[in-house]
Symmetry: C2
Subunit: 409 residues, 2 copies
């Protein structure tokens, strides 16, 4: 599926730090009529803790329900990811496929079924074929260890490039590694969770605290991106901590190294989230929207997402048009506290509107130059409080229409 790579893609896949206690393998389950790896099996060492966040959709996939239950146990020995079939909205047959996968993997590893985390992505409404899944698992069990780039490719669907990010942190006198992969390109409007993202660390972290950190970090990273305002039925971000680095286990923010680890985790999540935006369907420009002066941080985030989700703002950016009137419109429709006569708007470094009206005779040249670039900054200052947030999105182009008016067929 890696054709017509997004113009916003990084030059190459990041070199991910090695995480002890993780072994990725990939295989061909042939979920669609293609000749590519579409099943990913990551074996995790004994003692691995797990945490996750999942979609707020009222119609979640059986995989999402499975992971929610598995998270309550907080222990993991394996991650299975199927690409090409989301297995969502498939009734009992979808649930049976998830249970069959968990049974087969737990039998192979000699672990509990709830230590097997499962995610699927692709078309909605077709039950995942159990026979293909089982054959794919058999092939994966005996496959040689794969690279993280191989795994990042195998979990993708409409993605145009594989996505990974890495960071390290020092806990006591131990350096721990955090490496993650993510897939996503369309149906991206996370709400407490997002697309499929998998993060691995060799740090030893208590499962409950891992969950607390992930939820906190998600609010500022995955939950601050949008491609098209559409929230998937299958969004899942999981983090696994194998403990192989040998640090003193972290159980709360009072522990030495907890803040450093949380910061590194946030950096990896932010990198992964932004990579999803950079692969937004049809994207030609990466847009960062910074909102300040709002009544609260949450209000700022909602206003930022209202701007980021506005088709008229996104098409204006695609057209390299400094149409700040559309930004005003999007702020106004957010339903959050705002005072039209205190509102200021910036494109790049140039203030174009201030205190409720256009800046008289502002210099249009730097604005035009900024909009011709591929990295666009829009600043909104509400002027009524101290709330702030930054969100990221991409523009809306003919490419999005072309991709989505003919996806399934």
């Amino acid at each position: 599926m890696i054709t017509d790579k997004s113009p916003l893609a990084p030059a190459e896949f990041a070199t991910l730090g090695t995480v002890g206690g993780t072994q990725p393998r990939v295989s061909r389950a042939h979920y669609k009529q293609w000749d590519r790896c579409d099943l990913t099996f990551v074996e995790l060492g004994e003692g691995t803790t797990a945490a996750g966040v999942t979609t707020q959709s009222r119609c979640p996939s059986p995989e999402v329900e499975w992971c929610r239950d598995a998270m309550t146990h907080g222990k993991a020995r394996a991650l299975i990811v199927n690409a090409g079939n989301a297995n969502a909205f498939t009734g009992n047959r979808g649930r049976a496929a998830v249970e069959a996968i968990a049974a087969k993997v737990s039998g192979h590893l000699g672990c509990e079924p709830h230590e097997v985390f499962i995610a699927s992505t692709g078309v909605i409404g077709e039950p995942l074929p159990i026979d293909k899944a089982e054959a794919g698992l058999e092939a994966a069990f005996s496959a040689p260890e794969a690279s993280w780039e191989d795994a990042a490719l195998a979990i993708g669907t409409t993605d145009t490039f594989p996505k990974g990010a890495t960071a390290s942190a020092v806990i006591g006198d131990t350096t721990v590694q955090i490496s993650g992969i993510v897939k996503g390109s369309g149906m991206i409007a996370p709400d407490m969770a997002t697309m499929l993202g998998f993060i691995f660390t060799d740090a030893a972290i208590d499962a409950g605290f891992l969950q607390e950190m992930l939820s906190r970090v998600t609010a500022k990273t995955f939950n601050c991106i949008t491609v098209d305002s559409d929230t998937s039925t299958s969004d899942t971000v999981l983090v696994f901590a194998t403990g192989k680095a040998g640090n003193v286990p972290i159980t709360s923010f009072d522990d030495a190294g907890a803040d450093a680890f949380a910061a590194a985790l946030e950096q990896v999540c932010l990198d992964l989230a932004q990579l999803v935006v950079r692969d937004g369907e049809g994207a030609s420009k990466f847009i960062e929207i910074t909102v300040q002066g709002a009544e609260s941080d949450e209000s700022a985030r909602r206003i930022g997402l209202s701007v980021a989700n506005s088709p008229l703002v996104k098409t204006a950016v695609a057209g390299e048009d400094a149409n700040w009137g559309r930004v005003v419109m999007a702020v106004g429709k957010a339903g959050e506290p705002a005072d039209r006569d205190r509102l200021s708007i910036r494109f790049g470094a140039t203030q174009v509107a201030k205190d409720g009206l256009a800046v008289e005779g502002y210099d249009e040249a730097p604005v035009a130059a900024h909009l011709k670039g591929a990295e666009i900054e829009i600043g909104v200052d509400l002027g009524i409080g101290n709330g702030r947030a930054t969100v990221w999105t991409c523009d809306l182009t003919h490419g999005y229409i072309s991709i989505n008016a003919d996806y399934r067929t």
Copy 2:
């Protein structure tokens, strides 16, 4: 601006019933560099009552604020509509322009300024030039009476065809007429109000009751359409009742003919609202989404709009793809009560998903045939209650991108 007429446009402008006590006139104020009428002046007879609904945007135009104040008086002698400049986000200079227009018209007619209703539409952020407005008003005062089609053309901006609707009702032994015009094509996601719509009736109706009826009717008509999920700063629907038909004035639903009038008003509003969707920017298909079995009518409306605003649903329809998985996604993201395993979905007359999974071997031929047409019906049954709603939208095509990536320049 009437180029490339929408393929969903009606064959011709409706023949609007004559409404005594109304005299439309149009003129060229040259708000933009074009040679077309862009100022509309409708003189209303003495004794005309007025009601209206306006945008919920937190950044409304000064015209919207003016109309809100004028509505509290409930009396009208004139309506002025400016096209090509929305006068929104223009600070004190925008307010000054509105006051200047009201002063000039009230001087001409010998009425109170608050009996002059004013609406403007077009680019945001440029103060309406007072000199052009005053010259345009002078020209309109002495212009010959215009047709409603002329007025419908003069209030348009990116509209590709003029839009009008008409109905009559019997009150006692008097037949009254309701005729309206509307403009709108993009930035359409009404929330308690919408775009610019103007409805005229010769019935005698108490202003307070007129407001009550309009609010009730708007909830089922203008508030049930969307083109692109973007809510305008200038949305305004006004209704004027001249009383020239001579019926016994209506003051409540207890009065004879009130129900008939309300039904006729709803029909006109529905026709106008649907005409806006039929002129949705880039639209190639008109989509009716009926939601039933929801927890409440309001919940059904929210779910319907979530489906109607989903870029992935809209592009699937554009691509004539029966991708009901995207409908499931949009139901799921609405945040309203839903049970995945009771959800059913229909395209045209064909049930494609029932009780949470695909209908085994449903006949794809009638679905494909239905999707090839220009009038698409999607049915959603939540299966959990008695709430129902119908909403209307259009598909999302390359045309929308082309129009909006290069509008202002």
